[in-house]
Amino acid sequence: MARLLVIGLCAVGWLVLAGGIVAPLAGVFLAAGQSGAISTELVAVPAWQVLLLRSLVMSLTTTVAAVALGLLPAAVLGSASPRRLPTLVGLALLPLLVPPQVYAYAWQLVSAPASPLRRFMPDNVSDMWFGGAIRAGLISAGWLWPLSAMILAAGWRSAGRTAFALALLDAGPTRAYLRAVVPSLRPHLMAAATTVFAVSLLEYAIPHLTRCRIYATELLVLVDAGAPAGQIIRMAVQVIAILMVLVALVVWIIRPTAHWGQVGMDDETANLARPGRTGIQANTGRLTWAGAALVWVTTLGVPVGIMSALKPGSSSWAASFSILSREWLSSLSIALAAGMAAIAMASGTAMLDAAARSRWARTGGWTTFLAAAIPPAALGVGFILIYNRPGFVGYLYTDTPCVWILSLVSRYGALAVLIVWLTVGRQGNAVADQARADGAGAAGILAHVLLPMVWPSLLAAGLIVTMLAMFEVVVTQMTGPVGYPSIAVTLLGQMHYGRDNVVITTSQTVVVAGFVLTQICGRLLMAARER
């Protein structure tokens, strides 16, 4: 029975991969060949030089701030005891899974007349430097720092912690941190910076709400204006080119730093890193915890506090559920379906890769990252080009939410694949290899070795994709059929217009629900790690 389940799961996963990843990518390639363009003046799209400058300024601001904000939480995550780790992972995930539009909206409310922080903020925020790029970048950093924190935590756990302990023997904490820890974390710093930069470059909601017109916002403007597919893809290619240059640069900069990787490996140095060794370490540890807590509170607590300080009133809570009930119902159903599809896709690629050493499965897994790295508006164009045609396929696009679900999987499915790959890891592969050597087939390994090992991760991945999919706005606007309202689009639409109690209470609900779900995710992820 278990075998049938995993075979079915993988089959569905391959269907999702074909329909939600390969098909739109083919659509993007087809669209790239289309000629024609509308006048960008008609829809007031800025010149490409302006877009390039603003996009770079915004993403660089986000990157620098997010990496800086992530340093202390990374140290906490990297050195936390196993007992505390699930809670901490959940807490770190929460800011990342709160929809980015909530941050932009909350900071926008800071300057509202009734806001307690109004006196500290300028009245008109739209005319700041570089068309709001720095403001948008800082807000994005408040959302994305957990990404850098989690990547850096891996480095801290493997090398940084021990390097710090060793350096403390000869130097003070600051010097030790700068001269030993930072160099030891260089590959992780680069990886974190690249990831944050890429996500902020592709993200739509924050720059849109802060009126910062960058590539991500203008791509959707072109889509909305009905621009020819080729024109949209040509603009998207500029974004992809930036990302490719960045990745090449990072690969070139990161030279092998294996000597740092070895630091934490031998028992003697590893013991030095255990908490509570010396007074300096204990004090530093307390300061680190305090700093990490400050980052968390400033980036998430303050926005939530701002919204609470406006006292939306109890009737607004009822109203947020009553008038948005259709949106909640529809979005939740679609997001759950996307989460389940992502689980199936991760099973059919990452898990199957470990079970069968299948090149096809591995390639499928990598393809999901390709889709995730394409600007969502371009991905949406790919979907429309493939699915918007007469017949059954067109019916799926216009009358059912199938294509919408697939498009959400294409945006976030890579996360599920990554989580499963990381969970399986070297140990999982070794166990699967051993089972194979003992004569077990791929289905048997999947059902009796890998599934019992990774199911908490799979569930966590599904939950994470569900939370992200629920508040996705770009492909949702492009592929969502009439009759299936989206809470994300409705909220984003109303967030433009200043204080709205329904939007405030709905945002608070999302944060509270996110807190519960991320705590579950933290426990699931840590459970998978221990299995």
């Binding site: 278990a2 389940l5 509308i38 006048s39 008609l42 829809v43 007031a44 800025p46 300057s111 509202a112 007349p113 009734a114 009245d123 008109n124 739209s126 009126r211 017109r213 909305d224 204006a225 009905g226 109203a319 009553s322 008038i323 259709r326 119902l329 529809s330 159903s333 679609i334 759950l336 379906a337 140990q427 999982g428 166990v431 699967a432 051993q434 089972a435 003992d438 077990a440 048997g444 390994i445 059902a447 009796h448 070795v449 599934l451 019992p452 090992m453 199911w455 009439v482 009759g483 299936y484 309202p485 409705t490 109303q494 217009y497 200043g498 204080r499 109690n501 329904v502 939007v503 299995r531």
Partner: protein, 331 residues
């Protein structure tokens, strides 16, 4: 890890952990079934919507950037002679005959920051455009020649944040509503001198939350679409709150983000709801008399209904934003 090694090195059939897998599979199957039912229920539930329909007499415009076409129209107004003016998301203002024939087009001077969201024609036939993101009102003649402009950005008295709409009372006083950092209505003399404001955040029950649209009643009182409070307010000309109706909801008589309103010749009120994608007609006591429209792309259906205007001979024009068109109904 040892457990996994054990599993891997045995034939799975007789291993005790196989029971775990079976239980897991059973639980997973059950959860999957329940989840599938919930999702399917949610999806089916989403489609059961809409109340009633009324066939439009004419559809004006289609998606595009040419004369007579629209890209996300958002505001509409009718002139005393029955002509119709429409603003869309290309910052174009287009004039149509009462029957929807295209006549003239022009654009606001700048639009990179954002596009106008309101338009009004006063008794003299002047076109007042709420240039929202430039914090000003631009006044044109009916052919698009600029006559005047006033307003500056800010939240102080007489300043504007994002302008939603301007209307002119029979004495020529100009009322301007704003959203964004301020949600209030400011009153100006005919030569645009600031006289006062009302409906701001400290106004108690009269506090407005995004007064998206306004219209003067035949008795000189001011109807306001208080969009984010999901209600319609009636103010005296000096800003005293007289009456409200509506409240959030789907049922007839309830409102979800009322963006546009217009007063009919018989004194009834037409309110267009962005959130419910429909139009309701109310009597002066706030009782719902009729509901038109539901979400969709067919004639009579709407996607993001933004604005409404009443023309001559019972014509009613509804801006159907996301369908890039104006639907003309007959009362």
């Amino acid at each position: 890890m040892k457990l996994l090694t054990d599993i891997a090195t045995h034939d799975g059939a007789n291993h005790p952990n196989n029971h775990l897998s079976t239980r897991l599979a059973t639980r997973t199957k059950l959860s999957t079934l329940l989840l599938a039912i919930a999702i399917a229920g949610g999806m089916v539930g989403c489609q059961k919507r809409g109340i009633s329909g009324r066939t439009p007499e004419r559809i004006i415009g289609s998606h595009g950037f040419g004369p007579g076409q629209f890209h996300r129209p958002r505001a509409i107004a009718t002139a005393p002679d029955g002509c119709v003016f429409v603003v869309d998301m290309t910052a174009r203002i287009q004039r149509f005959s009462p029957d929807g024939e295209f006549e003239v087009v022009w654009r606001t001077p700048e639009s990179e920051n954002g596009k106008p969201t309101g338009i009004t024609i006063d008794a003299q036939g002047r076109v007042l455009v709420a240039d929202s993101h430039y914090h000003r009102i631009i006044i044109y003649d009916r052919d698009g020649r600029e006559l005047a402009r006033f307003g500056q950005g800010g939240t102080g008295p007489g300043q504007f944040d994002l302008v939603a709409k301007a209307v002119v009372d029979p004495q020529g006083m100009v009322y301007v509503s704003e959203y964004g950092l301020t949600s209030r209505i400011s009153r100006f003399s005919p030569d645009f001198k600031f006289l006062g404001s009302f409906g701001g955040p400290d106004s108690g029950p009269a506090s407005l939350s995004r007064p998206q649209s306004m219209a003067f009643d035949n008795d000189g009182t001011l109807w306001v679409a208080d969009a984010c409070n999901h209600r319609i307010c009636r103010f005296s000309r000096d800003g005293k709150l007289l009456f409200t109706f509506g409240g959030p909801g789907y049922e007839p008589g309830r409102l979800q983000y009322p963006y546009g309103l217009a007063v009919c010749d018989d004194g009834t009120l037409l309110v267009v709801e962005f959130g419910n994608n429909r139009l309701q007609r109310f009597d002066r006591a706030g009782k719902s008399l009729e509901v038109w429209g539901k979400p969709g792309t067919q004639p009579g259906q709407m996607l993001d209904a933004w604005s409404v205007a009443v023309g001559k001979q019972g014509r009613v024009y509804v801006v159907d934003c996301r369908n890039h068109r104006v639907q003309m109904f007959r009362m």
